[in-house]
Symmetry: C2
Subunit: 146 residues, 2 copies
């Protein structure tokens, strides 16, 4: 597996071990991770800290030039909120672990010029499938459906 997707997957597993939702992300600038994170709905009672948002927050305040040259790795297709954050900061490329269990705003991202790649990674799919089966209510809350 891609080494940066591996980092995102480690974050997802860390979240699961904490009792949280197993989605992870990493932001990479010129081959270096500048931010990584995972969903913190359960851990911090957060409505906005999806994995991608947590990684962005952990990267701190960056100039526009850094965001534009960055690649966002996420284990799961980004929802409307996280896709909006990608658009706000002009992140040029997004690598997605899988979109079998949930498909976010990939079409919107592509329509706005973002390069979107979906790996359909078996480990990412398996992790989310098991979680959704085990905790459907929590998962639906995270995507605004429950």
């Amino acid at each position: 597996m891609d080494t940066f997707m591996q980092t995102a997957l480690e974050e997802a597993r860390k979240s699961l071990a904490e009792g949280g939702i197993p989605i992870g992300a990493a932001i990479v600038h010129r081959g270096r991770i500048i931010g990584r994170g995972h969903n913190r709905r359960v851990q911090q009672g957060s409505a906005i800290l999806h994995a991608e948002m947590d990684a962005l927050e952990n990267a701190g305040r960056q100039p526009a030039s850094v965001y534009r040259e960055s690649v966002l790795y996420t284990t799961l297709s980004p929802c409307a909120m996280c896709s909006g954050a990608i658009l706000l900061y002009g992140i040029g490329r997004v690598v997605i672990g899988e979109h079998r269990t949930f498909q976010g705003e990939e079409e919107l991202l592509r329509a706005r010029g973002v390069a979107v790649e979906v790996l359909q990674d078996r480990d990412c799919i398996q992790l989310m499938r098991a979680f959704i089966t085990a905790r459907p209510q929590l998962w639906n809350e995270d995507i605004g459906r429950a």
Copy 2:
């Protein structure tokens, strides 16, 4: 002025008094404020706590039914990230103080069925105009342009 927009404007002024970016928001459910907040880029070094996001976070984890019946008041037209959060949670109505100084993703919100109202409030416009003139670099950072 609408009493809830007044709350959002109070939040914006609080942020300015803290040395921050003067944008405020409030989320109202059935006539009751369930979350209010302001931009925290300067105060917390945050890349994701725009006013609308801060209000959502302060409202805490809510069921989908509450978001759907809620109205988001914000002093300024919501950017792509905040608009994405509105779409994620299915907030049905957004009242915007003004979009003269910055126009966010109102078209996208409308296209997805959100009721969007723009007040073009003089106090909201004046507050942002003065801030953008005084701190153009900080403002451009907040919208991913610098």
